[in-house]
Subunit: 224 residues, 2 copies
DNA sequence: TGTAAAAACCAATTGCATATTGGGTTGGGT
DNA sequence: ACCCAACCCAATATGCAATTGGTTTTTACA
């Protein structure tokens, strides 16, 4: 902490914070304006603000303003940052960590209509005439399982994960045959997942999804 | 599919897509410009584009443009939308689904320095003189566990989850006593989590984190 | 001469008007 | 009946001036 702090100014600022009616986002008036209304210089105010920032009472950001409370972690537009930071194996690891839990929640919470939709997606994926359409139905299958968890936040996180996955694997379809072979490993795995969800078997759904993604991971490694 | 499709125009468009040098985001020229350069009408082009969009070859968005490939799910992690849609119980459910898996990965992957930092956060949380500082160290403990997973995507998802959590629980500290009581339930639970991570016990870390969050959940219910 | 305050400058961000883009309709021509 | 050109609308992007925090320079005073 800076020892040159002006204590009367700091007390004025604390008094302001204790009594001010601030907007919902906790934004303080601009420094120039606040200095004037507290009848102190801006440089003095800035020192007092720096003290309060070090205590976690306020946070400041160039161009945005000064706000009460702790600085939020910056997550807006973080998808691009995530994409830059990660790689296909991390994406697989995150899926293996996350999606079995989503399947578990789906087994506990899915409506009958959602179970039927999950089955439909699985069948459509098996019957898909091209890899592109197989991927579309595969994506829809996984997302419908996320919807069936009945937890909008889990679904939001799953969508974030899939957005990163697609960005990381962009262009990956170029060198594949026309459609998946009839013995494509995911088909049997999908059947097990969907069966467990339909049976309301949470642990079974968790294990089946985990086996599926481990299998996807090892195929990815062999193709590496 | 629309049966009024103009096949020569569709072939012209496919030919364009096969040979064009497009920017990295796969953006096509604006419709008016593309219609001119292909020497077809804009309405005809729009029909051809609609056909390709139905096949998943391109996607279009008012005001943005036309792009190759499938329509991405909203790629900006829209934290505000998640916050509006969810509630504290969903947040708890998502944490219970997600954070034990993060603890499992941390037990397998943490460096020695990270284990030491995790311990430090735990001790600092126990010694915190105010609830505000306890929360700061608690947040840091959970985030350090996320870092220790050595998976930047898992960490990104955890940050997203915590950003939503903070927004949903905004202002929750107002009516609490000065500091956590010495027998605050989380203290013993933190010890178990940190012990399991330090012991490299993945299943133990998973179970300890799950018990901790279930305990937080039931305290939340009783307080509700 | 040293210090504090005021003024000026810089980088990051916001707000707003205008331009652009896809979506669609209308009228005229073949 | 269909296509084309022109036009309109809603969503989005772009560019620029204003705003905001961060810092340096200048000025005034003791």
């Amino acid at each position: 902490m800076d020892e040159n702090i002006d204590l009367p100014a700091l007390e004025k600022l604390r008094g302001f914070l204790a009594s001010a009616q601030l907007p919902d986002d906790g934004r303080l008036p601009p420094e120039r304006e606040l200095a004037q209304s507290l009848d102190i210089g801006r440089a003095v105010l800035r020192k007092a603000l720096a003290t309060l920032q070090a205590e976690g009472v306020v946070w400041r950001h160039v161009g945005k303003g000064t706000f009460t409370g702790e600085r939020p972690i910056d997550t807006v537009a973080d998808i691009n940052a995530m994409v830059q930071r990660t790689n296909p194996f991390e994406v697989m690891g995150a899926r293996i960590a996350f999606e079995p839990e989503v399947a578990r929640c789906a087994a506990l919470n899915a409506t009958g209509a959602q179970v039927a939709e999950i089955r439909n997606c699985m069948l459509k994926a098996q019957q898909a005439p091209t890899w592109r359409q197989y991927e579309q139905w595969d994506n829809k299958l996984h997302r419908t399982i996320g919807e069936a968890s009945q937890n909008s936040l889990l679904l939001g996180l799953l969508d974030t994960l899939n957005a990163v996955r697609r960005a990381v694997t962009w262009g990956r379809l170029r060198d594949t045959p026309v459609r998946p072979p009839a013995d494509h490993h995911s088909f049997a795995e999908h059947i097990e997942i969907v069966q467990a969800i339909g049976d309301r078997d949470a642990a079974g759904a968790y294990e089946a999804m985990r086996r599926h993604l481990r299998s996807v991971e090892s195929h990815m490694r062999n193709r590496g």
